[in-house]
């Protein structure tokens, strides 16, 4: 998309009009936010004396740096390094609810109707009912949830390791991504090495109780090696894919890897 825009930049063309057109082409929130934050780029111009007031080129540079950081983090990521675990007494109660909407607006999923759709590079594409998933072997973890905003809270999650499920459905674990879609159309992508990490969990319980609505009933993906927004709740579909499909926050500019 950025390349498209670049090829559109012709000398003599009014930049403001161009930006307007570009915004129309790409109605995603991030672009509007970047253009709206032009004042900040202006502040940078004052500091460096360089012309970075063209918000498109500044965005371009930052996007490249963010991708570079994805690559660095993928290298730093050690699949055998486990997230620190804690004891019962460390659990934050009540555990904070967090989403881009208020708790009252959280999806109210009917567990009897709900099915997990499995698609993409998997041998067995059958959908799973909640009863079937609840019969899978259960593991438990008490780990720290770290939000992109900076706060953290220790919680207790029970479910089945995602990597065991991926093996069970015959997923191509050489594929690059596992993409999740949620009841409220939230989406997020996990890189395969993280999806295969021992602590990455398909979660059905919080604190040994059936996952409450606030924490993602009927299923959440708990990833203690990632920031909170890479831990989707109310998951309805899972796709194993080589195509990068982004995610709700990733598309708006949060660093894609966002590994802890």
């Amino acid at each position: 998309m950025i390349r498209k825009i670049r090829s559109l930049i012709i000398p003599g063309v009014d930049k403001d009009l161009l930006v307007k057109d570009a915004t129309k082409l790409m109605p995603d929130l991030s672009r509007r936010r970047f253009i709206a934050s032009g004042a900040s780029f202006g502040a940078l111009t004052l500091l460096t004396g360089c012309d970075v007031s063209d918000s498109l080129s500044a965005e371009n540079l930052l996007t490249h740096m963010s991708k570079f950081n994805d690559m660095v983090q993928a290298r730093i990521f050690n699949p055998n390094t486990l997230a620190p675990t804690y004891s019962e007494k460390d659990i934050k109660r009540p555990f904070p609810f967090n989403a881009f909407y208020a708790e009252d607006d959280a999806p109210n999923v009917d567990g009897k109707e709900w099915k997990l759709e499995v698609s993409g590079l998997v041998q067995d594409k059958k959908s799973w009912t909640l009863d079937e998933l609840h019969k899978l072997p259960e593991v438990s973890q008490i780990t720290r949830h770290i939000c992109v905003e900076g706060w953290s809270a220790i919680g207790s999650w029970q479910g089945t390791p995602l990597r065991d499920f991926l093996k069970l459905v015959g997923a191509d674990t050489n594929a690059k991504w596992v993409h999740f879609r949620c009841a409220e159309d939230y989406t997020s992508s996990l890189d395969m090495p993280t999806a295969m990490h021992a602590q990455t969990q398909m979660t059905f319980k919080f604190d040994n109780q059936l996952l409450p609505r606030a924490y993602g009933f009927p299923m959440k993906i708990r990833v203690p090696t990632k920031l909170g927004f890479k831990n989707p709740k109310y998951v309805v579909a899972m796709e194993v894919t080589n195509d990068y499909k982004g995610g709700y926050w990733e598309d708006q500019g949060y660093n894609d890897f966002s590994g802890s």
């Binding site: 502040a43 963010s66 486990l82 997230a83 770290i146 939000c147 900076g150 926050w249």
Partner: protein, 211 residues
């Protein structure tokens, strides 16, 4: 910037009488650091505002990035500039003997005497190539703060992969406070540093043209 400093060096070499106070490499890393640290502080304030540690937030007029995601983008891009430039500074500071020559020795008595002299207006600025005891303490201290803010930043960024570092700071939440207070120390240093550079303008000139 580098072409300016190079030509300045040539001029300095042609006239050996004028003493170079700040060598070119010091000036280059100083101004790169100045840009990097301002970007880091302003974007860091933007990130802080998403989940404030204290009962205040930073005005959006002094933050960078426009929103949390933009702030993080700036912070994690400028960190490379800060860290690589900082490593160059530390390496050259040690290898050239500048740290040893300029920053040592520091004594408690020396610092107290020079603080008194400064407050009573009796501190000499005649020879800018030699630091007084207060300068030595502040410049050594800010190097330590710089190292701590980078390490605590790494502890927050990678609390799983670098969990021993995070534990060293007393855990994730404490590391955030350390990171914040190191920022506050740098801002405090900057206020004094910039004020004194303006009071003694030839020190500012030395950091720009070398003499």
């Amino acid at each position: 910037m580098s072409s300016i400093s190079l030509s300045e060096e040539r001029t300095a070499a042609a006239k050996p009488k004028t003493k170079v106070i700040q060598p070119a490499w010091v000036r280059v890393v100083h101004w790169i650091n100045a840009v990097a640290i301002v970007l880091m502080i302003m974007s860091g304030w933007q990130i802080y505002n998403a989940s404030p540690l204290f009962n205040f937030t930073f005005s959006s007029s002094i933050t960078l990035g426009g929103w949390l995601g933009g702030g993080i983008m700036w912070h994690l891009a400028a960190m490379w500039l800060l860290v690589i430039n900082g490593l160059v500074y530390l390496t050259l500071g040690i290898v050239t003997g500048r740290f040893r020559r300029k920053l040592l020795p520091i004594s408690a008595k020396g610092v107290l005497d020079d603080t008194k002299a400064a407050l009573t207006g009796q501190l000499s600025h005649a020879d800018l190539s030699t630091y007084n005891q207060v300068q030595k303490l502040l410049y050594t201290g800010i190097i330590g703060v710089g190292i701590l803010i980078v390490l605590s930043g790494l502890a927050i960024w990678k609390p799983v992969q670098l969990q021993y570092l995070t534990a060293l700071f007393g855990g994730y939440d404490t590391a955030r406070y350390v990171h914040f207070f190191m920022m506050a120390a740098i801002v405090g240093f900057l206020v004094i540093h910039v004020a004194l550079a303006l009071i003694v303008p030839k020190s500012l000139r030395a950091m720009i043209i070398g003499r």
